[in-house]
């Protein structure tokens, strides 16, 4: 048992190159901040729609927030907005350093901490994509910490971190599926119908109204979602189903991104899946194919 766990977690099953993963995460971090840049001061700054007093009702004393820094900088006459710009600047610089492979261990910690601070500072503006980005930067921090170890340990640690991410995703999807499976809307197809009405564009709604003559279409989509999420933890490890499971999950997130306009959420979930299981597709430029066989072996052992 002990050896099996040891092999499963620490065998060199790491296929997507670590450098590629770190670059993907850093590029995503930059993208995520750039797409809110024009509205930065309305989300975080002095003119923010949600003032600090509201946010403080939802955070604990141990959660770093921007006001920790802005109250200090005000002492030396620096405004809240200038402090915000400085923090965002350091965040982008850190992500740039991760991309450029410069002192990755240090800048992984800085980028995680700043994102965490920004997340805590905007409780009411934050949603799933922000929390998953925070988790992704946490994983990035663990990956970059392996630079502190010797080559042999590095391989085992990389393997462990990817397994950690894989198991975490299994729990995420299991609860997402179970939550849906205990209701009724996801069984009769109404869930997909309501989602289309509330979260998609008018043209998508108009194109879908005709489909209401065939409720089975909505039933298949909603039941399919429940089954995929609930049994992801099994399907993603079985050699015969793992590729199609990965494709379907990415397709589901792609649809969420495009049709519901949850672009960042769709992207971050797709990236997490690619980082965790992307090596199933043996992309020669990104993956280390030599170790793919080990993955098959360890998965078959399960």
């Amino acid at each position: 048992m002990k050896t099996k766990i040891d092999k499963f977690l620490f065998e060199n099953n790491y296929c997507l190159k670590k450098d590629t993963i770190i670059k993907i995460i850093a590029a995503f971090g930059i993208f995520k901040i750039l797409i809110i840049l024009p509205d930065l001061f309305y989300i975080f700054g002095e003119q923010g729609l949600i003032q600090n007093i509201v946010n403080e009702r939802h955070t604990f004393w141990y959660q770093p927030v921007l006001t920790w820094f802005s109250s200090l900088s005000k002492i030396i006459g620096v405004s809240e907005n200038a402090t915000l710009l400085f923090v965002i600047g350091v965040y982008l610089f850190s992500l740039g350093c991760l991309l450029a492979n410069y002192k990755r261990t240090l800048f992984a910690v800085i980028s995680w901490f700043i994102h965490f601070t920004l997340l805590n500072s905007t409780f009411l503006f934050s949603y799933g994509a922000d929390y998953f980005t925070s988790f992704m930067l946490f994983i990035n921090m663990l990956l970059c910490a392996t630079y502190l170890f010797d080559i042999k340990s590095k391989k085992s640690l990389n393997s462990y971190i990817i397994r950690f991410l894989q198991l975490h995703l299994c729990i995420v999807y299991f609860f997402a599926g179970l939550g849906k499976a205990i209701g009724t809307d996801w069984f009769d197809g109404n869930a997909i119908w309501y989602v289309i009405n509330m979260y998609t564009t008018n043209s998508t709604i108009e194109n879908t109204i005709g489909m209401t003559d065939y409720p089975v279409f909505f039933k298949i989509l909603s039941l399919g979602t429940v089954i995929l999420e609930l049994f992801y933890f099994v399907l993603i490890f079985i050699p015969k189903t793992r590729k199609i499971t990965l494709v379907l999950v990415i397709l589901m997130h792609f649809s969420i991104g495009i049709f519901m306009e949850f672009y960042t959420f769709g992207l971050v979930m797709s990236l997490l899946n690619i980082i965790a299981f992307g090596h199933y597709f043996r992309w020669s430029s990104f993956a280390n194919n030599k170790s793919e066989n080990l993955v098959v072996k360890t998965n078959q052992m399960m």
């Binding site: 003119q47 949600i50 729990i171």
Partner: protein
């Protein structure tokens, strides 16, 4: 490395345990009468069971602390267990004209949508509602200095289910309710409108 491996295995099991606690505890919010009635029998059984177990406060505090730092504290019951057929938007109007929020990108609008969702769910919580509406109004007054009074409307859209659409055709019920008014005096005064 042997010791490190042991620590990492223990950490992984701890993480999984914490995520299970977070996952199941998020179901306890389904125990309220309205949500509970809409669960299927299996769901009612699971929610009842999860509500029965109370963990020591020190443990739940630690789990929550850990989950906040790893970005895993919000649970994963997205769009669960059912989806409300009613969509609520908060509209700000001055002199009969809608005041547009200043957001320029889709992501920012989506982020504001989260505030909207939170506010809709807390609309009967007077303290929370007032503090959010005052904050939003204050910002809108700053951005629109000519405005002296803001009317805050609840814009409700009610969607019919698939069966009704098939039998009676597509129909969305729309209702706009004047909920509150905010006045720009030195301190913003929120006046609740009866509805």
């Amino acid at each position: 490395m042997v010791i490190l491996k042991k620590i990492l295995v223990v950490y992984l099991f701890g993480h999984i345990l914490f995520m299970l606690i977070i996952g199941f505890s998020s179901f306890s919010s389904f125990i309220d009468e309205t949500t509970f009635k809409e669960l299927n029998p299996v769901g009612q059984f699971i929610v009842k069971k999860t509500d029965m177990y109370t963990l020591p406060k020190q443990l739940t505090d630690f789990v929550f602390f850990y989950s906040i730092y790893t970005g895993t504290n919000r649970g994963y019951s997205f769009f669960s267990p059912n989806i409300s057929p009613t969509k609520v938007n908060i509209l700000f109007m001055a002199d009969g004209k809608e005041i547009n929020l200043p957001f320029k990108t889709q992501e920012s609008r989506l982020k504001y949508g989260c505030t909207n969702l939170h506010l809709s769910s807390k609309i009967f919580d007077k303290e929370e509602r007032e503090i959010i509406l005052k904050s939003l109004s204050s910002s809108l007054f700053s951005n629109n200095p000519d405005i002296e009074k803001l009317d805050i409307y609840l814009d409700l859209h009610n969607y019919t289910d698939l069966k009704t659409v098939k039998n009676d055709g597509y129909n969305v019920q729309h209702k706009r309710i004047l909920g509150f008014s905010a006045l720009k005096n030195n301190v913003i005064a929120l006046e609740e409108k009866p509805y």
